[in-house]
Point group: C2
């Protein structure tokens, strides 16, 4: 998430302020005041756009997904093997400065049983990524580079690895867990998708 | 976790009360009063054993590990393939009535960055399970039923699947995620450990 905001879009500025405030204070200690401090304006300027902290954080989850979509659009290859590899890199090769964000995201995830807005957004994000994975796997099957696998299952298996690595990165303060999951995903893809090649 | 308490061990009674209170109220809304209500005694009776709620919950995490150790001792086979399979069943084939506990555990996990006692216990529990996995894999390698793999990596890969499935079971209210992870673990074990057989 580069800080190269060229336009002064208030929504985007507030999202970037939320990002910084979340990384600094975590979810539980996040307040509109702290986001306003990062934004450099009053809390009223934020409430003009978002009624509640949860509304703002729900918008933030959309923002995170949009950021991810942007990085996916950078992947220009249509070759299924290469495209799957680059997609898994985007999901699992994480710059270490995202650790603070992973902490805040795990707090939000743990609140899902009590927060329908969060649940809906996490679900939508997950469905979008699974859709991308299924599409590239299906493409590989059609062009004969991948075996004729249960696409739904493989996409879910890869997301279990992604979510396990993200949880463990937080709980065990373990930067290596994303790398370990990336290696495991590569082994799993080799064993499941390209066995006949 | 069967409710077959035969002795009136106060520690164990309090742990069982904590278990019921956690499942009913979740971590954030848990109070000593609510545990006392389940225990059927006063809060003073609980404070006699535990100074703070966090002390009590730290003891609860030990209790959960002890419960898990008890179920592991039920696994009587020493055959490495069978033993690994039964171990993965214990970790991933979850009765649905544990969903409430998974929710409370994810809340506690998300608090690890702010709670050293929790961090230490989750780490100890994870190290214990990884030790079990490494031991059975090493045994399989020595007796020639498993390939000569990187035991550390395989144990970590399996724990990523376990933690991913537990996180997803909560975030997506998805009972199937443990089953999907169990199937993925079986595929991964077949591809990684028993390729030469």
């Amino acid at each position: 998430m580069a800080d190269t905001s060229t336009e002064a879009d208030p929504d985007e500025e507030i999202m970037r302020a939320t990002y910084r405030a979340l990384r600094e204070h975590g979810y539980a200690d996040l307040t509109i005041q702290r986001i306003a401090d990062e934004y450099g304006k009053s809390t009223a300027a934020i409430h003009y756009h978002y009624d509640t902290k949860d509304d703002l954080l729900t918008a933030f989850l959309d923002f995170i997904l949009d950021q991810f979509k942007d990085t996916i659009h950078e992947v220009e290859t249509t070759d299924p093997e290469q495209r799957l590899e680059l997609l898994l890199n985007k999901l699992l090769v994480d710059p270490t400065d995202h650790q603070d964000l992973l902490i805040a995201m795990l707090e939000m995830r743990s609140q899902v049983p009590y927060n329908d807005q969060f649940r809906e957004r996490f679900r939508e994000n997950d469905e979008y990524v699974q859709y991308l994975l299924r599409t590239v796997i299906d493409h590989g099957i059609k062009t004969g580079v991948f075996d004729d696998v249960d696409t739904d299952h493989v996409a879910q298996a890869l997301m279990i690895l992604v979510d396990g690595a993200r949880t463990r990165a937080v709980v065990f303060d373990d930067e290596d867990s994303l790398e370990t999951a990336r290696r495991t995903a590569a082994e799993y893809v080799a064993a499941t998708l390209v066995t006949d090649n």
